[in-house]
């Protein structure tokens, strides 16, 4: 089996386990929860078929749902976050790389582009997830706080991982 494929499967499993066993139990100041699973969606190659990417995201989200007892919540958030993936990459990438397939990273997209791309995907994921989870606008300030807090926290982790992986 291709080494890259094994590496990616291992990464998916690791992220999945970390998300279920650790990240979901963190809530900084009651608002900020890190969603490590977003890293998997950010690293979907630009040349991958969007339908396959959405299927992947749906089943990853569904697996997390099964373990967290929120069937449908993560699945919907994951699919919605991946749906504009290709569009966002095309908006932030350099023009000369338009025809090539690549895995989005700060090195390729630049820190500004990558941060924007990661922020948007993370924000979409968090908005959908928290809106579905609360399913009402009873306490809009709390909802907004959780969305902003979790997006910022997740983005920070994503950028940290990007820095660490770049150094390696």
């Amino acid at each position: 089996m291709n080494k890259v494929v094994v590496y990616r499967i291992a990464a998916v499993l690791l992220v999945f386990v970390l998300q279920v066993l650790m990240c979901n139990r963190i809530a900084l100041w009651g608002y900020a929860t890190p969603f490590l699973v977003v890293c998997l969606f950010l690293k979907i190659p630009s040349g991958a078929k969007l339908n396959i990417a959405m299927t992947f995201a749906f089943f990853v989200g569904l697996c997390i749902d099964i373990f967290t007892g929120t069937l449908g919540v993560y699945a919907l958030a994951s699919v919605t976050a991946v749906f504009p993936h290709h569009y966002l990459i095309n908006r932030v990438q350099y023009r000369e790389r338009e025809e090539e397939s690549f895995t989005p990273s700060a090195e390729i997209l630049g820190w500004g582009g990558y941060t924007l791309y990661a922020a948007l995907i993370t924000a979409i994921f968090c908005v959908v997830l928290f809106c579905i989870d609360s399913f009402s606008f009873f306490a809009p300030a709390v909802l907004l706080g959780r969305i902003v807090g979790s997006t910022a926290f997740t983005l920070l982790i994503v950028l940290c991982i990007e820095i660490v992986s770049k150094k390696k």
Binding site: N51, M54, G72, L76
Partner: protein, 279 residues
């Protein structure tokens, strides 16, 4: 078909996304009690609003039919009300007339006046009771105030009476205070007044004296109020005198009357006939 296929292929990612969203929502509402509850409540509210709007629209178009139904129902209720009012009025009149007849020995039937004229020269009263109710000609009529007429003809269901406002009807009366006899008849002028004729010259009367039936006729028992002397001034008429009497009954307001059965015994009638025949 080809265009449709091309459309689906071009927008396949949108379709796949919608499929996953649908699947996700199904899972969400199927397995999450909170979302299911909120969704059901919201759906009920939306459905309620839609049904309310739909009901308002269809209700507007159904107003014509509803209006017709209400009109028909209203008419029916008006009819029932009229019947009930008539029944109540009849019951009240019966009570009043029976109270007025307390102490009288005669039998009586309560009848409703269904036609009554006061403006003609010869006035008549039509009653809603007839032969089937025991009414026969020559029975007297009185309301709660006083004498109003005498039955002239009967059919099985109806009776027609000569009103006191008919010059052809003469009633034997007497002045209650003095006991003097006279004959009362309408003069064809004012509906409030009649004339008491055939009075002897020597009698003295006062204005306001009560005139009552004498009891000599078959129509009325003795003592039924007919009216009151209006003017104590007697008017000479042939060898007798005449007085103006204000009638007790208000003929313009006749509603229910008491038909009085004061018929003489057959034996008495036969003797009177025999005496009349010998003359």
């Amino acid at each position: 078909m080809r265009k449709l296929t091309r459309f689906f292929l071009t927008h396949s990612s949108v379709l796949v996304y919608l499929c996953y969203v649908t699947l996700g929502l199904v899972l969400l509402f199927r397995f999450n009690a909170y979302q299911q509850s909120v969704g059901f409540t919201s759906a009920s509210r939306i459905a309620g609003s839609v049904y309310s709007l739909s009901g308002a629209v269809t209700g507007y178009f159904g107003l014509q039919r509803t209006n017709n139904e209400l009109l028909a129902q209203n008419g029916k209720l008006q009819d029932e009300l009229a019947v009930l009012r008539d029944a109540v009025a009849r019951a009240q009149a019966v009570d009043t007339l029976r109270a007025a007849a307390t102490g009288s020995p005669e039998n009586s039937v309560i009848a409703k006046v269904i036609n009554n004229s006061v403006s003609r020269r010869n006035n008549y009263i039509t009653l809603d009771k007839g032969e089937a109710d025991g009414i026969v000609p020559e029975m007297g009529l009185a309301d709660q105030n006083g004498v109003v007429g005498v039955v002239a003809a009967v059919s099985p269901q109806y009776a027609v009476a000569l009103s006191l406002l008919n010059p052809n009807l003469r009633i034997s009366c007497k002045i209650k205070r003095t006991g003097h006899i006279g004959s009362l008849s309408w003069r064809g002028e004012d509906v409030r007044y009649a004339g008491l004729d055939d009075l002897a010259a020597y009698i003295e009367v006062n204005a306001g004296d009560t005139v009552v039936t004498s009891g000599y006729s078959a129509a009325f028992p003795e003592g039924l109020i007919v009216g009151f002397i209006e003017d104590a001034q007697k008017v000479r008429k042939d060898h007798f005198y005449s007085l103006t009497v204000r009638l007790a009954a208000d003929f313009s307001k006749l509603n229910f009357v008491r038909v009085i059965d004061n018929r003489k015994p057959q034996e008495l009638v036969e003797i009177e006939k025999e005496v009349s025949g010998n003359e």
